[in-house]
Chain length 506, copies 2
């Protein structure tokens, strides 16, 4: 056996399970429910899925795939392309599987990321016949050490009938010790989760499994697919500055200190860019308690701004991968990766008092947020953890540029075409135009702030006009709407490629 493999395979009785990717892939029955490691392109198995792609090209093969969150191209692009995915949950981001979902070829179950583990416990997700999990090592005492994400792997490992381990020897060995694996017991028999500080460790460094369940071990040297985020631009910089000023005013009001509260920042380019804005700020000793650590977090660690970061995955650009994984020791005492059930747990989000920053696709004048559905019908990515965080955070902030698609679309509409975060869950909205602090406000108070502070100038008058007529038409009711018109901006967009009314009139 390759020395590097031997070093990573502590539990020697497993040596005879080492097989090729093809052999491992052959184990999985057609029609199976398969759990996979991986969260936002990090820590996913790669070579076994590619062997499944080959299988699917030659035989009738279709499986249900549940993961932590979105995976890299092996599954969400190539396995999808091969027509091998029947059902998928709980989060995606690849254009290939997105297209299939929106063409009705793949069933997609979008779900709060903290909810999956309970569904596995109840057998709603399952029975899971196989878990395919990427590992950095298997220790002598049989702990599976995850790699760059933890995701749902611990709960999958507990409930899966069989496990295929993809032992990735290209990941640095110093990943061992990064993870903190704590799995709550069944509901009703459960103790409080003992975490009272985002920097604390409460579990084990790996996932305890019955070695008999491990049916195959496949060696891999494939790196994670790098993240694809767009770098900050002038507008996201403006949004960051607006947010920093808001935090300053919260400090003045006595509601926050200079350390703020643990920060969660969502997936995507905008949330990353906004977080990046902290680099040149006066804020210090920040703690990140998030779901995904994107580039910005490592920049902030390097800049001495972030003292500790807790999450369930590390999803970074190619350049940063080299830097971080080439020198992980430097970050090791400032990092912890937890199961997503813990990183996203309402119990902890509420207890720790997180500040949560997530990106909206669109939002409406009353503060309802659509994170998932373009024009109410087409899935973008999914709700991910945004609901876990926004609902339970001390401060639930949503950011978005005020417009999309070069200005044809207003991100602020009369009524969102799909609701992921209700008016009850949205505290603060930030666009490049400004900020609306909605806390404690009634719907009509919110509408005025959102339109005046956050909407793009091109759409302000149109929004005001809708709002004023809705107030009139409903006799100034709690939440004025003209139902005939509430979704007309989206209809206009479909017909005329713009939400601007001039075009309709023209």
């Amino acid at each position: 056996m390759d020395q590097r493999v031997e070093k990573r395979l502590g539990l020697k009785i497993l040596s005879d399970r080492v097989v090729s990717a093809e052999e491992a892939a052959a184990l999985i029955p057609n029609g199976a429910v398969v759990g996979m490691s991986g969260f936002t392109r990090a820590g996913d198995a790669k070579v076994v899925p590619m062997a499944l792609v080959e299988r699917a090209k030659n035989e009738q093969f279709k499986i249900d795939v549940y993961t932590g969150a979105s995976l890299g191209p092996e599954v969400d692009k190539y396995l999808a392309e091969a027509g091998a995915i029947r059902k998928r949950g709980p989060f995606i981001a690849d254009p290939m599987i997105r297209g299939q979902i929106n063409a009705g070829d793949v069933l997609y179950v979008d779900a709060h990321l903290s909810h999956n583990a309970e569904l596995v416990r109840q057998g709603i997700i399952g029975p899971i016949q196989y878990l395919i999990i990427e590992a950095a090592a298997i220790t002598e005492d049989g702990l599976i050490i995850p790699t760059t994400s933890v995701g749902n792997s611990p709960i999958f490992a507990e409930y899966a009938e069989n496990i295929i381990v993809e032992l990735n020897i290209a990941h640095p060995e110093s990943l061992i010790g990064i993870h903190d694996i704590y799995v709550p017991k069944a509901q009703g028999e459960r103790e409080p989760i003992p975490l009272t500080n985002a920097t604390q460790r409460i579990g084990e460094i790996g996932i305890k499994v019955d070695p008999a369940k491990i049916k195959a071990i496949v060696v891999s040297e494939e790196p994670d697919a790098p993240s694809l985020i767009v770098p900050p631009d002038e507008e996201t910089q403006t949004m960051a500055n607006i947010l920093l000023d808001f935090f300053r005013s919260e400090i003045k009001a006595g509601r926050l200190t200079n350390k703020l509260m643990p920060l969660q920042s969502g997936v995507g380019s905008v949330a990353n860019a906004v977080l990046d804005g902290f680099a040149d700020s006066e804020f210090e000793d920040l703690v990140v308690a998030s779901e995904v650590l994107q580039d910005a977090v490592f920049n902030l660690i390097d800049a001495g701004k972030v003292s500790y970061a807790s999450a369930t995955s590390i999803t970074i650009s190619e350049e940063l991968q080299k830097k971080v994984y080439g020198n992980l020791e430097k970050y090791a005492d400032k990092l912890v990766l937890r199961p997503q059930e813990i990183s996203n747990h309402p119990e902890l989000i509420r207890r720790l008092g997180l500040i949560s920053i997530n990106t909206a696709l669109e939002l409406d004048i009353y503060g309802n947020v659509n994170s998932t559905h373009v024009s109410g019908t087409k899935m973008m990515n999914g709700i991910g953890g945004s609901g876990d965080f926004a609902r339970n955070a001390r401060l639930g902030i949503f950011v978005t540029k005020s417009y999309a698609k070069g200005g044809a679309i207003s991100s602020i509409v009369p009524m969102v075409s799909h609701v992921d975060h209700t008016e009850h869950d949205v505290d603060v909205i930030v666009t490049e135009q400004g900020i609306a602090d909605l806390r404690g406000l009634a719907p009509k108070e919110r509408a005025e702030l959102i339109i005046e502070n956050c909407a793009h100038p091109d759409f302000k008058e149109q929004l005001r006009d809708y709002y004023n007529r809705a107030v009139e038409a409903t006799g100034n009711s709690q939440t004025p709407h003209i139902l005939e018109e509430a979704l007309s901006w989206h209809v206009n967009l479909a017909k005329n490629k713009t939400m601007k009314l001039e075009t309709v009139k023209a």
Copy 2:
């Protein structure tokens, strides 16, 4: 001093604070933010608010009123009628204040009931100049003993600058010991809430306050306004039977035992009627962990079905008030009343694995639920705790009759006109027509179940027609909708007083 008052006023230094309702009411400045005890017509102050009504008739007087939930007529009817409420939160139910809210005369901040305490801590609700709290007693060591609800009183008491106690000597003394007051510390300094079982006690029997804050004590003998729920009928009985059968199948599937899990049941006639259905069932040793205890819970205690009930309020009919409060000793060891921050806390709802049953106003074919807004614009009552429970429960069940207003309205529509509970939070739907178990399903799978199993026959074909055309029009996308038509059922209702299409064609 009246002997009965003396007996209830343990802390003797407070004797000189006993004043008339008028004197107490005169203390509250115009424009103040006022916290009040009370939750769904239970445990609210009555005589001081009626003195405020008198004041408001004679002078310019308008205040912001925050409570646990809806109050009885003194505040939500008479004080509202007097034009003395500027802003109100977090829940209402009286037609008077509802009318004012929907006429734009009162600002209403509808909010998750578990969120209020954090907003008070942060000063978003506040500064609270006065708390008016109904008490059954003030103990020797200065604990204020609430009456038939706890609601937000503990957090209001902690943050209010001044407190007026309405000492209600008509409430039975045996209320002392019913309450379990536990208030979490500030976020970031907070320990896990130590409750691991709904029957456990973790706090004190009353609310600790600085006696210096108590500016007035007013004696009252007014009973709670009785609840106004409609008794079960044939259809709610059918819904109860459907639900019981569902629980039986869950037991067969190994997901529940005969004791089920702690049950939460929402406000309103329908949820009460459904819970009542347990009386003749084989289920035993049930635990209720709810927000409000309505009539059904006491019937189930009497029937030996419910062994313990935990909530934040007791809201019962006049008849049952006599029975329960006349004989509270009989129930005392089976009852606990907690702050609503605890009864509704996501940490505990998730940990204990509650089964939550709440009522929808309307829901759509993809499983989004509207609990609050009639036709998207007019406030009914508010979201109350339904979001706290549905999101975090082990099983989030929504019940509703399939139709309203004699059949003119379908409770199942293409798209809800307001979203309070998103598709991610709704596990099971029950109408008198049948049940849709949505767990683990993608939107289109849900639509077929909801239409076939839950819709009223009068609307089934119309729903199928919309759905099929939406699938066609969107190329079978994730969540098919025809945005031009999605809200047309509500528009039809406004124009033609029915959602039925025949009328449109006629």
